[in-house]
Symmetry: C2
């Protein structure tokens, strides 16, 4: 027997019990004839005590242990003289009577502590040691709890988890599909799914009614900090529902997760249209932990011969509370910030509303104090506030103001990671125009249904058609999105036409779904959540990587196992493949 | 709103309620001015009633519906005059007042009934219609419940579900790996995991202690009825445990599943050694729903000049209860059965123990009635029984007797699908000799630990070394298997040597695990269950295919979506690949 208890559970109520513990040597301290060892397992840390006078042999044995050795210890629980309030086991220690070394350990390349001295690369190479750190393990514990509670909530509502295939068909537009050559069907390839979209819609045609799946998806694209070639979705679909039913069901799920995982009661989610999100936040994923809304002031700026504003279709401002104290240097830095190519503004106008009530702007040459007063009023500014103004094309300027707004929130510490503000963004545009290709694309995907009241616009003004599509946004992060689908073949064909699909191409790409829809498709819709992102958000991580047990780096490599790697020629032969440029 | 209730829940307590239902038109019956429609959804079937006299327009509309159309119906719940005891809703019907057609349907290519007229190929091509059949849907409902209850049981015991990567490294011996060419690392490939074995062991090194995952695994091999290129495992691993702990934990899981899914209390599982399983059943996955054990009678057959038995190292018998009535023709068929290449015996000796106490065998020429009496006694035969005898090499003959035993059980209807007999087979041999290659292979896998008491045999008689390895067997099906792993590098190297691995090759293939083991690996072990097989067994299916939503056929094809398929040259170029034989 390796243990009677874990290292996280003994306390004063166990005093004088004989116990056995197993774990890793976390720390050792020697103090005048005594050696103390912190023994660690997944559940916590327990102090072992070895007394030279009482048991010199055992004392000597204990002193030979090293960091991260695996041991079993037999002993008795005793109350500690100097207690440690940070540990649940901090009131007791184990007076050891026997020690078995289960395994020795080389010295790890970094410390197994929350604030480790290991850099990112080293930690990833030795991920199995990195995962010993309580901070990383807790991320994965929360991930486990999140999937478990998600399943519990959905099972309760009669959702069925159905596994859809991982080896699916490659589609002509699936350029970012990972493909898998088939040995039994040489020259042919499976693809790995970017999402189970088509299969979950087929399940609705099958009458499955309430489907979900927590499922790996794959996308072969250039990676960023927040992207992985394989990622996990909470994928859901429902039949005989309207948008409201889906929003309520998954708002309920999110509340359930906040309640059970973080003990937080989240209020009802506000719903904001895409148009309003752009108007007031310049973003379709607004962070509403703070106000600082965009204010349009174009009408207040005209006729003063300021050509920059006069020539701009849009002039917008944000009012930054209590930031009139910003120095000239700080303001210059903000100007540099908005001019960065990632933001792309041409310049920034500021207006200081000083504590004494006076107004000072970078465009005093053009605008009188009375003019500026009107700006301040429109922005609901108070003495001590700073107004920042950008001008240009409507949409791009709104987006620049959004970047600036988020930057100001960071500078002023308005992004409290423990404050969670959830909302729904609804009424997304159905279509998005690619200006270069002069072609419409589906903003969500080609099965998204238009709002009934906008259908008449499909022919005359496609860009104005709104969709039954929605995103769930938490603290400026899009954690999930979905839509009510088209279940009517005629409407589907209409949309394909608008998207420029020929009947042939639509058949080639979505044929089996189109076929299925001929046999009685119910009205249906769904949503998918990015699990990695949701977990990161609950933990307050900046990257999704630390809530994934074995993540890949930005080149899509697993540096621990050194994958991907070359394969042998025999295997390529069996697959009927050759490399264009053979590797050395 | 599409519905107030489902089609499976209304009963007499709802009489006079106004309700809305949505679903599929399952059946229509016209009876003198009345039309009755069975409306179906996932939850059941409810009868709708349309009366020509009461509402002629609606009656006409109803008569225009077709099979599998999707409709919403508004109406009032009424008690039926002729009740249907087979339906939970069989005591009521809906007097319809309004009908909306949500979608029409072409006539399905087969009937949506438990006993459908659709053949296998048609059903697979139209799997989305096949899944409408209650019998198929119920399989997937049970599958959902099984995974949910598995998670609930394991979560309760502090197991953590951890997702391991799907894009992993290819190993030199991974000839049956599916590979995935990397676009970002041209010329290199990921592999899809045949199991998360290495990762779960790494998680133990990380101190995760109790891991599980319900996870897709992949194997690119020729398929049989019971194999799929992608399959699902319940994969588990524990640290600081001995074999007993694992057996108890997962015997507990299995009992929990039988209890919650089938309401069956399964008794404690017997444990039988591999050696005894072979001796008494000729199989390492014995079906113990019936006795008919193998009995060795070699010693009773010698010195009678019957060269077949005299020259055979093994002579074994099974006693088939009440089968002395088998005719000469039936016995000839049994002889043909054992001679089939799949069984491979040279012949079959029978001994009839007639009701009158006389004995009649096919070897009366060599053995006296007194001789035969001894055989019958050894076999514990009674008048009316039939004894069947095979002879040859020990192991192969035992296996032939096992085949014969299972065949006799089928013929005599001893395999009751609702009788579940579970057991553990333990003490598997550590190694298996490939006679052709004259080389030992790991029977389970190369990390399986030998029994401590057998370690001394590693050098002198490797074939005799038993492993800490175990299989769970239910009704003759191996549903799960696992082992206690080696956690000591020295022992691991020893085993690699016995397996003929050079240090180099071991490093190449398992390097990162070997490295990890240098940093304090705990004692650990685990088990993996084949979910598809377990679900099939619980349902009593002959193939695993009908408990998989979208299975592939025996050529690894998904005929519904027509995968795998060719991909475009541009995509191959991006991956740095060319086809050896380009497709037309």
């Amino acid at each position: 027997m390796y243990r009677t208890n874990t290292c996280g559970e003994l306390n004063l109520s166990n005093v004088d019990e004989k116990i056995v513990l197993s774990g890793w040597v976390h720390k050792m301290r020697k103090m005048g004839g005594m050696t103390f060892i912190d023994l660690r397992d997944r559940y916590g840390i327990t102090q072992l005590s070895f007394d030279q006078e009482v048991n010199p042999e055992l004392y000597t044995q204990a002193n030979k242990l090293g960091r991260e050795w695996v041991v079993t210890v037999y002993g008795v629980v005793k109350e500690r003289s100097s207690k440690n309030a940070h540990l649940t086991t901090g009131e007791i220690e184990i007076i050891a009577s026997k020690l078995d070394v289960l395994n020795e350990s080389k010295t790890p390349p970094f410390t197994i502590e929350t604030n480790t001295d290991g850099g990112d690369d080293l930690r990833m190479k030795y991920r199995y040691l990195d995962l010993r750190r309580a901070s990383v393990r807790k991320n994965l514990e929360l991930r486990h709890k999140m999937t478990f509670e998600t399943r519990r909530y959905l099972d309760n509502l009669h959702f069925m988890e159905v596994e859809t295939p991982v080896l699916i068909g490659s589609t002509p537009e699936g350029a970012r599909d990972f493909v898998v050559p088939s040995r039994m069907n040489q020259g042919e390839f499976y693809a790995l799914p970017q999402s189970p979209q088509l299969f979950k819609q087929l399940l609705m045609v099958s009458g499955f009614d309430r489907y979900f799946q927590i499922v790996k998806c794959f996308r072969d694209e250039d990676l960023r900090a927040d992207r992985q070639p394989e990622f996990t979705q909470i994928d859901c679909e429902m039949s005989f529902v309207e948008q409201e039913d889906i929003l309520n069901t998954f708002e309920g799920l999110t509340k359930h997760l906040f309640k059970t995982l973080k003990g937080i009661e989240v209020p009802d989610f506000p719903r904001i249209s895409y148009a309003d999100a752009m108007r007031y936040y310049g973003s379709d994923k607004p962070d509403i932990r703070f106000e600082m809304k965009l204010v349009e002031i174009k009408d207040l700026t005209v006729d003063r011969n300021f050509i920059v504003f006069d020539s701009a279709p849009y002039v917008g401002a944000i009012c930054v509370k209590n930031a009139a104290i910003y120095t000239r240097k700080q303001l210059d830095e903000l100007i540099n910030f908005v001019k960065r190519p990632q933001v792309g503004a041409k310049g920034l106008i500021y207006l200081r509303y000083n504590e004494d009530g006076s107004l000072k702007s970078s465009v005093d040459k053009f605008y009188s104090e009375a003019d500026l007063k009107l700006w301040a009023e429109r922005c609901n500014a108070k003495p001590g506030d700073l107004i920042l103004v950008l001008a240009g094309e409507t949409e791009s300027t709104q987006e620049q103001l959004s970047d600036l707004r988020l930057e100001m929130a960071s500078q002023l510490n308005l992004k409290d990671k423990n404050d969670y503000k959830c909302l729904w963004v609804v009424d997304f545009p159905l279509l998005e125009k690619d200006k270069e290709l002069d072609r419409f694309f589906a903003k969500h995907h080609p099965f998204t249904s238009p709002k009934p009241e906008d259908i008449h616009l499909l022919d005359i003004n496609p860009a104005a058609v709104r969709a039954n599509a929605y995103d769930m946004v938490i603290n400026g992060v899009e954690v999930g999105g979905g839509s009510i689908r088209i279940h009517d073949s005629e409407m589907q064909n209409k949309i394909f036409t608008v998207l420029g699909f020929t009947a042939e191409r639509a058949q080639e790409q979505f044929g089996f779904l189109m076929d299925a829809f001929q046999y009685g498709a119910p009205p249906h819709g769904g949503i998918a959540f990015g699990l990695d992102r949701l977990v990161s958000l609950f933990i307050g991580l900046d990257s999704i990587r630390d809530c994934i047990a074995f993540p890949k780096n930005n080149s899509g490599r697993d540096v621990m196992i050194d994958a991907p790697s070359t394969i042998e020629k025999e295997q390529l032969d069996e697959l009927g493949l050759t490399l264009i440029k053979p590797k050395e």
